[in-house]
Symmetry: none
Subunit: 207 residues, 2 copies
C-alpha cells in the first residue's frame, strides 16, 4: 500500500525533531512536512495534501483548535490528530468539536503514535490510552455535547454574563431565539440551570 502522508505542526522545534525521528522509524508513513505554525502548515497542506495532520494544540497566533477548524473547512478529507501535554486535556472536546479524529500526548511512545496513525487513517477515533485514568472520564468525554456554531456563540455570551435580551441585541435576533438556544444548551448538557451549564462548559474547555 501507499505510505500514509503525514504533516506535523508544532511551535516547539524540539517536538518537531522528536516527531521526525519517531515517524522516520515507522515503515508505512512518510513525512510530507514539518511546520512551526498554522500558516506554514496550510501552505504545506496545499502543496502536498497529506492524509493526516498531527498538530499541537497550544500554539501562538493560531491555536490548534482554530487550525483544526480551518483544515476541516478547506480540506474535509484530511484527518487530524491533536497532540498536547498532559495538563491540556480539557481541550480534547474542543478539538473533537472541530474535527480532530485522534488525540495523543506528547509523552507518547513510538508504538502509540503508530497505532494512532493507523486508527485515524482507517477513519476511526483514537484516544490516547494514557488519558483514560479512569472510566468515568472516558464516559464523560462521550457525553460532551456537539454544539452548533450558533449555540457556541450563545454559550460564550452567557458565560460572559450577558442576559438573554442583551445577547439577542448582540446577535440581532429575537430574545425568543436566544431563549431557544439556551434551552437547547441546557438539554444538551443535561443540566437545569445556568450554573450547571457554565460549570460543565468550563470543565470541557468550551468557555
Amino acid at each position: 500500500m501507499d505510505k500514509i502522508k503525514i504533516l506535523v505542526t508544532d511551535d516547539h522545534p524540539m517536538v518537531l525533531e522528536g516527531m521526525q525521528t519517531m515517524l522516520s522509524q515507522i515503515g508505512f508513513v512518510v513525512i510530507t512536512g514539518l511546520a512551526r505554525n498554522a500558516y506554514e502548515a496550510m501552505e504545506l497542506i496545499k502543496a502536498n495534501l497529506p492524509h493526516i495532520v498531527i498538530t499541537d494544540i497550544s500554539m501562538p497566533e493560531i491555536s490548534g483548535i482554530a487550525f483544526a477548524a480551518k483544515i476541516k473547512n478547506e480540506y474535509p478529507g484530511v484527518k487530524i490528530i491533536a497532540m498536547s501535554t498532559f495538563n491540556e486535556r480539557s481541550y480534547i472536546s474542543q478539538m473533537v468539536q472541530n474535527g480532530a479524529s485522534g488525540y495523543i500526548l506528547k509523552s507518547a511512545a513510538k508504538e502509540e503514535i503508530e497505532e494512532a496513525i493507523l486508527t485515524v487513517y482507517e477513519g476511526k477515533l483514537y484516544m490516547s490510552v494514557e488519558l483514560e485514568l479512569n472510566k468515568k472520564e472516558q464516559q464523560e468525554i462521550n457525553k460532551i455535547p456537539i454544539l452548533t456554531s450558533r449555540e457556541k456563540e450563545v454559550l460564550a455570551l452567557i458565560a460572559e454574563g450577558f442576559t438573554n435580551p442583551q445577547i439577542a441585541a448582540k446577535l440581532f435576533v429575537s430574545p425568543y431565539t436566544v431563549d431557544s438556544h439556551r434551552k437547547n444548551l441546557l438539554t444538551k448538557f443535561e443540566v437545569n440551570n445556568t450554573a450547571g451549564l457554565i460549570k460543565l462548559a468550563a470543565k470541557y474547555g468550551l468557555v
Copy 2:
C-alpha cells in the same frame, strides 16, 4: 577545551529525541545520558557526573523542582537548566530557589539552547527572554477574592446546579441566608449573575 557533558531529563520521549538531535549539532557538548525520570537521572549522574543537567519541570513522581533540590544536595557542582512549556513559568522562582541556573522554554531554538548552556557553564544565570509578559497575570492573581468557608460551600453547591432553596435545605439554614452568601459572592467576584460567577470560579480553580 573538553566538551561540556550534558544530561537531559524529561518524561516525554519526543522531547528527549528532539534534545538529542539538537545537542548533537552543537560542537562543544556531549550527551552523557537521557533520562525519563529523576531516578534514572540520578543513576546516570552518579555514573557520569555531567556538568549540566537539563530537566523538565513537570514530571510525574518527582517533579523538576524536587529533582533540582536533590541534585544540588548531592552534587552541588552540577549546574541545572530548567525546561518547561510556556504555561508553567510560575515555577521559575521555585526552580531558582532550588538551585537552577537557567530557564529555557521547550520552544527554544538550537541557538538559544547553545547560549543557555554556555552561560550556565560559565557560572552565570540564564533566563529565557521569552518569559517576560506577566504584569497582567500578576494582577489577575491578586484579583482572586478570598472566600469564607461558608461561601466556598455555597459556591460549590451553586456550581452543582442547586437552587437557593435546595442549598438552604442541604445546609440547614434559611434560604435568605443562602441568598446573602450568593450576593456576597457576586460582589466579591465583581460579576452580576451566576454565569459570570461560575465562569470566574472555574477559571480560578475554585469549582
